[in-house]
Subunit: 302 residues, 5 copies
């Protein structure tokens, strides 16, 4: 129980103690315990991109135990994965590190026309498996937006009633959205706002680029400094209820170590709450992934 | 209770004793009892392909009793079929051989546009009929993916609660998937991964070909040996949670005895957990089918 | 699947295949598999009489694993115990030997005034734990008779719906019933009839004495041969729907080996379906208990 | 995650990961984290004995925050209390120390004739408040035994389904039970056995005296060494499934420091899993209570 | 929103905003708005004592509109009554003054043997009628204690879920409790503690006398100053979670104006949160009742 953590939790004052307790637990775990910052290891790429693309770079990753072990060893605040990966390890890791059950998932073999993940597990699974949060992906921009927003509405309500907070992965995608638009600063800030408005306790977005995508938004951005990553992060955090909701950032595809650390420094400088680091962690060799995670945490701890 | 079986069951440590017990029962039945390997006789072709295509090659198969008798006589680990076939024989075979209720089915008279089996029976039917598992087919790649994943999510949860494990038939199909793609090594491995992530206790896939289908996956397969069936099976088993989930393989359409045995040898050599042998068993004459099943088991017992 | 077993099961022709299957499973397990006879090891004395009285004679019995191991080793058809003992071993023994969950229990520290066991577990527990039957004690003669009959009515109905048969322990007790009356031939036969009428699939009663307890029944027994145990067993079996329900007998408190075997010979000769042997098995040393169980089975197999 | 803890958890192998995770969490908290031993601070005396009798010795204890703070400061494994006390502090302490919701309680103003606590909160409260376990008191010996056993049966089942373990306070009381009988070694061992058979994950009993209460049990105790507290504890632990269930002991009314420590040494030497220390902790001055708790933990850590 | 009110609400930090909001509404109404003190007008005497005894002293009181009008006119914080009285006026007063639905009631025509009010309305009635709280009477000491505690457990949970706080009238009564015991300081303090532990948001007790009733409590009271009403109130407030729950006091039967005011001064001086004034208000003439209520409020405002 540190001042930094309690200050963040005071932004969730209307929540029940179960939800607050799980958020406190996540922020009281690992290397960054008590700092109010967090690094989460998510491994849903086996489902989303297929096993070979995900795990062949470091074949240890085919094993479901590899990831939570890495998360514990490196001092992560939590480990997130789809049902099967969580089921394979929960008896061993529940109570040891906060588990986050990703309750919807997409695969790359086909799709329902517009981006929309399938519901692959439930709040009752999270309870049975001792999870500290659920995770859910929304695709603002998709033609199936309304289905996803209604799903997350119901899931957050059901999860809260049993003391479980919700983490929303907010990725604008679908419809006429361009690839560039998906990471444009206005779109990322907007996606963060939507997730917060939907009741997310923690929001995960991609690191924003300098582009402004929506024509109607261009004017507004004339007066918002977005030249540096730090500035853009600051704007996203502001867009997430003026810093009153936890926003964490993903780095995307695996890349070189220096770029990763550089990004993290920008996120930290801009007031981001932390990083969700998947491929950059588990697609490296064990020692390399471990040391990169530790370096990332060192930035947030600084 | 053998070391081989208990070692496999230890991979399901988070499951309740009812589910574990039924998995143990399946692995403690028949010729391969105690080896950790299994051969299952499935007969859903009457539903899927029509009676004449299915049973005319060996007209004894029109009779629902023929198949479970063959399964018992040959020493199979279980017998799988749709509701009607199970109902016709359960009073005689429940408690004698593990029955597996196939709870969704397609027919060849028409379809809903994209591949998606109909829900044809329920977990409560499996209980009433004394079944040891349910079976469910998913078609990753189909435009109805989300419906099927949500269905199996609910079925697995409901079945687990009453101690019944779930076997998932994972066949990529639909959307833009080509016929060749359906059995490509990357697609089969991916389908196995998806089934495991969805919480399947046993996964059934087709034997994979040497093709790599998804462009995004081609690079990954440059370093994965897939030249022989043995190698490909090894990769599929690795993709099923690094060997921590039971994966069994089907042989597809009836073919000559030697090819069947050759395939089984490859599956066994690659670490596959067994075979699901339908048409190659019941579309032969009784004695021929029986001896082929026994030969297959001899390979797995070796 | 033997003729002996199928003949017995034909007496339950109206039951669903799940119930039939579990009865078949019980009769297809252990040394007596296929004979239609059964020996069951029940261990509820820890609850009913307290741990020291139950287990001190053979302290290995304090360990919940001891008993199902003994049951398997000796070739019993099933192992029956209260919730805690079953929960402690089900993950290891479900699927290996039929587990029977005793869903009500009494202790000796106090009571509700008239004999009436407490409900201590539920049908859903039996499912979760992979049990093949539930067990329930009724005390005909008790002032709380109506409560117990209503409870077993509901339990049998609920268990049947999910394919689980019910074993009823029928012990006349309470009200003005004397100690001698509890085992009188007329009372035992009556208790067996009541259990059958309540829908029990298997009935367990004590071995009857030559006494006739109820004044109104005395005349009837003038013409019923009850001089030997064999004759009395024959009458009890007849009273259990003319042999159409499975009736098994308990021996009661531990006693010398020869008496036990003598009783079993009488039960077998009279057409009893088997024995439920608790204290005479687990209160002996391991080797002694094992060899006695085997000797008992040898009688039934003869 | 230590070997000591994982070895204990292996005795609960049939439980779901949620229950296991919460047990692991309790054993991974505080000074005794990882040792497999535990000290829990329970404060239900305000309800059971009234506020003045409970808190006047140290008036800080009138404040609901005092106790969980003391529990955290002293390094306890958990804090147990009725609904009101937990509600008053859960938003601050959930996620910081395992909270245990006592779901039934008695007061001293009156009673329903025979000992039987009132149901005062529910499993859903435990979820909403972020609790890691529920607690429930049974009174074996009471004429309302059957009601209480049925209540705990339902609560354990409901709590397990959502991943919450159950702690059973087992106090023989009521009927013809004498005051001396309540703590007699045979009665305490029996009460522990009953709680285990009812499915308790953790059992709490009083430290046993040398008396043997039940006439029928006297003979058994001729061969059981019960002369020292260590020996008696060893017998109670054996009676709790041969050491396979966690049994912790309460010390009862406040007494002098040396007696408390002496008792704890006996519990530790006899293989007890720990202590539940209420009045001896919070009825002392803060510093005195704190140092006593630390001294107790030092014994268990030795 | 005043500091005084927000400080009180901070003691309910784990509650949802709906409950908090209704508590804030009650404390933001009437003459005492913003002071953190409250005076509530309750009129359940028509039900509890019969109409003539209740309303003949001031026949205007037969009219259900009389009371809420008086409450508004005098500046009360709320008006409490049974279903019928609330239904008769809610369309006119909901939104005007917080209505409190008394959901259980006793009459004086008979009783169920031991004190236990009948459930006379439901949480859904409170919603339908726009009420800001429900009220419930418990009788600690009654042989039906367990029934009442279970009822209030369920009602509080249900009401909270829809944002409605609960006010518990806690009156020790029944069993062997004497008339003098009912208002003894130890019993009143104990009753307040019980109500708080049961989760009451506001507790209502009678003003305590100097007597100490429970023999076991006498020693504790040797060191607690209870000579004046102020001291006794201070002890009761301390017993209600050290001032962290709102406790208000009733005056009982109608009496002379000076005694009432004297009592209120004592309550205020001792830190009581307010008064619930029924008969002393509505059994006087309108003007007299009005001016007495105003005088009472003047004390609390001072």
């Amino acid at each position: 129980m540190t001042e930094a953590v309690e200050k963040i939790l005071s932004n969730y004052a209307g929540e029940n103690p179960g939800v607050i307790g799980n958020l406190r637990r996540i922020m009281s775990t690992g290397t960054l315990a008590g700092t109010g910052k967090m690094v989460i290891l998510p491994v849903d790429q086996g489902f989303e991109h297929g096993p070979a693309r995900s795990f062949q770079p470091n074949p240890d990753g085919y094993d479901p135990s590899y990831h939570p072990k890495l998360a514990v060893e490196s001092g992560c605040n939590g480990y997130a994965a789809p049902l099967g990966f969580i089921e394979a390890v929960a008896h061993e890791f529940a109570g040891e590190i906060p588990l986050i059950l990703k309750v919807n998932n997409s695969d790359s073999l086909g799709d329902p026309g517009q981006p929309c993940s399938a519901m692959t597990s439930a709040v009752s699974d999270a309870q049975r498996l001792g999870c500290s949060a659920i995770g859910f992906t929304i695709y603002p921009g998709s033609g199936f937006r309304n289905d996803m927003y209604a799903q997350i509405r119901d899931l957050i309500r059901e999860a809260r009633a049993v003391g479980i907070p919700s983490i929303v992965w907010a990725y604008a995608r679908g419809g006429e959205m361009t690839k560039e638009g998906e990471t444009a600063i206005d779109v990322i800030a907007y996606a963060a706002q939507i997730a917060c408005q939907l009741g997310a306790h923690i929001v995960k977005v991609k690191a924003p680029s300098e582009a402004v995508y929506l024509p109607a938004a261009k004017k507004s951005y004339e007066t918002i400094p977005i030249g540096t990553l730090e500035e853009r992060i600051r704007h996203v955090v502001q867009s997430a209820f003026n810093n009153k909701r936890i926003v964490i950032f993903s780095g995307g595809a695996a890349k070189d170590r220096d770029s990763v650390i550089e990004d993290v420094k920008g996120i930290h400088a801009g007031g981001g709450y932390g990083s969700i680091v998947g491929r950059n962690a588990f697609q490296r060799s064990h020692d390399d992934g471990l040391s990169l995670l530790r370096d990332i945490m060192a930035v947030y701890a600084s």
